[in-house]
C-alpha cells in the first residue's frame, strides 16, 4: 500500500508542478501580470489615431506608464475616443497633460506619448485629456507639402 500511496503522491506533485508552471507563465510571460495593481482611466479624443491598437503603450518621457484599453469612434463628433489605463503609481499627472499618437522607430508600433503640463490639479479617473495631437498620416503629410510648395512658387 505504501508504494501505491507514493505513486499517488508523486502524481499529485506532478500536477501541482504543472499548475505552478501555469501560474508562473500566466503572470510573468503574458500580459496577465499587468492586471495586478490598479490604474485609473483617462479618455482622449483624436481626429486620427493612425494604426494605434488596443494594449498599445502609453508612455511619458519614454517610460511606460499605462496602456490603451479601448479605441472607439464617437458617434457625435466622429473622432476616435481612446480610453487608456494609467498605473496608480503615476497619479500625479497634471490636468493639462497633452497626448499625441507617436511611432517608435520607422517600423515600430504606435503608442501614445504624454507630455505633462503645469496645472496644479491632477488627472483623475474618467477625466478627459483636452490637448491631443493626431497620428501623422504619410499621405496627408506629402500632399500638404506638395500644395504648400506649389503655392510658394506662384508668389
Amino acid at each position: 500500500m505504501t508504494s501505491s500511496h507514493q505513486i499517488e503522491f508523486t502524481a499529485g506533485l506532478f500536477l501541482l508542478l504543472g499548475i505552478a508552471a501555469l501560474v508562473f507563465l500566466a503572470l510573468h510571460a503574458t500580459d496577465g501580470g499587468a492586471l495586478k495593481g490598479g490604474g485609473y482611466r483617462v479618455v482622449a479624443e483624436f481626429s486620427n489615431v493612425g494604426g494605434l491598437k488596443t494594449r498599445a503603450n502609453v508612455s511619458l518621457g519614454g517610460v511606460r506608464v499605462g496602456s490603451v484599453e479601448s479605441i472607439d469612434l464617437d458617434p457625435q463628433t466622429f473622432s476616435a475616443r481612446v480610453v487608456m489605463v494609467i498605473g496608480d503609481r503615476y497619479h500625479n499627472l497634471p490636468e493639462d497633460t497633452s497626448a499625441s499618437v507617436l511611432t517608435s522607430g520607422i517600423l515600430g508600433d504606435q503608442y501614445i506619448g504624454l507630455e505633462p503640463g503645469g496645472a496644479p490639479d491632477m488627472l483623475k479617473e474618467g477625466d478627459k485629456i483636452m490637448i491631443t495631437q493626431s497620428a501623422l498620416v504619410l499621405e496627408q503629410l506629402i500632399s500638404r507639402f506638395l500644395f504648400n510648395s506649389g503655392g510658394e512658387q506662384k508668389k
Binding site: 501505491s4 499517488e8 502524481a11 506533485l13 506532478f14 508552471a21 500580459d31 496577465g32 494594449r55 511606460r64
Partner: protein, 257 residues
Amino acid sequence: MTMPSSLGGRLLAEPIREFGRAGIFLVTAFARMRFGPLQLGEILRQVYFVGARSLVIIVICGFFVGLVLTLQTHDTLTRFGAGDSVSTVLALSLFRELAPVLTAILFAGRAGTSITAEIGLMKATEQLDALDLMAIDPMERIVQPRLLAGVLAVPALVMVFNVTALLGGVFFSVYLMGSDPIVFWSKMQASVELGKDFMGGLLKSAVFGFLVSWLAVYFGWSAKPTSEGVALATTQTVITSAIAVLLMDFVLSAFML
C-alpha cells in the same frame, strides 16, 4: 453494406472503418463512465505513469528547443535590427504552437506507446478476459483512467515544456548574448495575450492529450493478441498520433486566429 472490391476502394475504405471503430470505442468508453474513489485513485496512478515519468524527456527537449529557437531568431532578427523582439517570437511560437505540438508528439512516443503495449499485452495474455470474469469492467478499470490521465497530464507537461524552453531562451539570450533581461521579459509581457495566446495553447494541449491517449488506448484495445499484433499497434499509435495532432493543430489554430 458490401465493401468495395477494387483495390483503391479498399485502400480508402479501411482507414474510414478504422476511424469508425475508434469512434464507437470512444463512445462505449464514455457511456460506461462511472466515478468513484477507486476510479480517482486509478486516474492518479496513470497520471504518474504517463505524466510524471515523462518529465525528464520533456524538460530536456524543452530546454533545447528554447535554446535553438532563440539561437535562430536572434541571428535573423539582429540582422534587421529587431533583436529586442527575440523574446516575443520565442514566447508566441512556444505558447501557440511548438510546446503543445512537440509535447503531444513526445508524449505519444513516451507514454502512448507504453499504454498501447500494456493494453495489447493484457489482451494477449488474456488479462482483460480475466477482469471480465471477475465482473470488473475492463473499460472502466483500464480504459477510462488512461483516457482521463492523458487529458490531465499533457497540459501539465506542456506548461513544464514552456517554462524550460523559456529558461533555455533566457540562458542563450541573456547569458550568452548579453541581452538585457528586463527588456527580454517586458517585451514578452507586452506582446503575449493571456486569453488568446496562452489559454489557446492550454486548450490545444488538453485536446492533444485526449487525442493521443484515445488513439493509444484504442490501438492497444484492438491489437491482435500476438506479439506481432502488439508491435504493429504500437507503431500505429505513434504514426496516427503524430498525424492526428498535426492535423488537429491546424484546425484548432484556424479557429482560434
